[in-house]
Amino acid sequence: MQTSTPAVPATAQSRVRDWRSMLIYVVFAGLFLLFAVTLHERGFLSENNLMNIARQSAMIAIMAVGMTFVLSAAEIDLSFGAVVALAAVTVALLLPYGMLVAVAGALAVGALCGLVNGALVSRIGIPSFLVTLGTAGIITGITRSVSALQSVPVDHEVFAFLFGSGDIGPVPVLFLWMMLVVALGHVVLRNTAFGKAVLASGGNKLAATYAGINVARVKMWVLLINALLAALAGILYAGRLHSARYTLGENDLMMVLTAVIIGGTHLFGGKGSVAGSLMGALIMAMVNNGLILMGLDIDQQLILRGVIIICAVTLTSGRLRRPRR
């Protein structure tokens, strides 16, 4: 008898699912073609420019990976721009004492920030929005005063090469970093117990607890991971710009959140895709690049970027939210 009335058959179901999450790639391809056609004599396709896009998306992507974990767990981290700056300044200030010291130091600082955020969120249970808003201010204040608002020069070829400036053959080191982080992030979120715990905690906190998942610890870890990646981003900024200043990362929050959410991660948790975030980052970088190449003035750039974002997401997440009927 049909105790077993097949809940919607596999094929159909999954087809629908895949088709949806594929859309982001379609959008990316579409935009790329659009620019390739309209801008090819303006050098959009020049190997150099593609490198630019790669390099520019790299930074966004690295930060987006961390944010993907945070959002998947239904938390948010407003402090990570501040962490980027602090880590950058730290590494720059410590470089005279050796590269390893400096990098370790910067990562340690990042970890510390993450732990503070995590502790306040998971132990005391303050909404992460407020916690990270608060710590963002504190961290920025610290960065401003340790750097006295001056930009700290980075004068260390090896460091600069390894962290952001170098190219190995035609491939920018930055790009390798991104690949590493994204690949890791993707596997961790998809194929490890931790990843599942993150998604479960974000999807239904209580159910996750009943299933034996330590939600507090999960929240702790996602905030820690995010802070560590922010620190890495800061280090890479320092290496790429050969200097660090308190303003780094200040404008990245919105960019990164957008990349992640365009990529299909839910702002309210439960759903997250690192690959999607990578696509989001590529799209953002490509659009910035394309709009400048078009030679538009800033107002037009703003307007057009807005239009593109809306059109893109109409395609990707348009019907998803339509009242199921």
Binding site: T3, P6, G203
Partner: protein
Amino acid sequence: MNSLPILKARNVHKQFADSSVLRGVHFELQAGQVHAVLGSNGAGKSVLMRIFSGILAPDHGQLLLDGKEHSFDDAGAARRAGIAMVHQELSLIPTMTVAENIFLTRWNDGWTRFVDEAAMMRAASALLARYHIELDPWQTVGALTRGQQQLLEIAKALSGKVRVLILDEPSANLTAAEVGLLYRTVKRLAAQGMAIIYITHRLRDVFEVCDQLSILRDGRIAHTLPVAATSAQAVLTLLTAQLSGASWPAVNVLADDAAPLLQLRQSDTQQAALSVRAGEIVGLSGSGASAMLEAIFGLQALHGYTLALSGKELHVRHPSEAIAHGLHLLPGDRRRAGLVLDLSVSENILLSLFDRLSSALLIDDARGQQIVTGLLRRLGLKTEDPGQQVRLLSGGHQQKVLMARALSTEGRILLLDEPGSGMDVQAQSVLWQIVRNYAAQGNAVLIASSDYAMLAALCDTCHLLADDGIGPPLAAATGQQALLRALHGTPCQP
């Protein structure tokens, strides 16, 4: 039927993706009638009801109210036409008060209308009083028990002017007392001429309150007949439930010297208040049974008792520890505490197992799938795609997913909170079989349920839980006869 039916469905079809759930349903409902709708899990009962109440639109087919064709474009429309539904998955606003939830349907019309809090509270208490539901209108719904929420849902449904009331498995996890209240209410409403559709898997409900029953199968109404003209046995056959005739393995409680796998001791006088030995199934009933299981599972403080596993006293602070000690809990509230609706069926099943499934660092998907398919087969749930969202499963299927999770960790102690809720007759008999075998393999089971009969049939001992704590053990009848009677719901005294 003689008189013109209030609600009539003609040739209703509904298809999702490419699985057609309803394939031509014809259905009639008379005023003053309590019409039971039965059918196996996933038969399409809830879908049909969602169509009646305007939440889903039929692919084709008509709905007729008093003979006039109607099509509702949302729940509000159906509601205005006098059709109210109590959903299987509770649909309350946890952040709002009882009163605000009762009048939820009012919040859509006349947005500019003022809400007189005091009047609302008065009306709410009046309504609750009318149906003898003891709730504080000011209370925030998030804090209510599952049973209280179920009753609140009914009050909410009755808040407006209602001619057709749809109850989708209302008796699932209500306490015996609450079930009594439910029966009385339903009878009274029917007497007042309200037409009621009553979906259930408990034959007892059918024979207590319903006067007509329909069986939904293969997307159609297979049978419709007056309850008076039939018997539980007959209905079971109509449901084509093959209750496995296999007799249970004898209860083989291990030698008494072996320390019980699970024991609750009075924290003052180290006396054992409740113990479950290997091979034993122990029942727990009464208010606070669920809370007791959750306390054992480390979800809340265990007041007045200390926990001992295989003789060793220990303090479980978090479910993760409990699971590490070989316990697992099947939560009583499917949606709130059980399922992660965004995740797939298999992810939900493996949720407690992932860290153990990790070979090296990565999850061993192949093994995961093996385990999932194994468990699903054991529970008689063959969804062809464990990758689909659990959200889309029918209530009973979802319950099986949770049972599968509880079994997945292969612990030695199962804590089951209303395990049968939402499962059809067939599925339940399979479930009890599984529980039995599980125990027989030298494991321990502690079941919290308000279905005395089922407990009596299934358990070796039962405890009643009262405000003064855990009552003394009552030896309970066992064996298939009792089990069948339990499933019919005819009361059976130990």
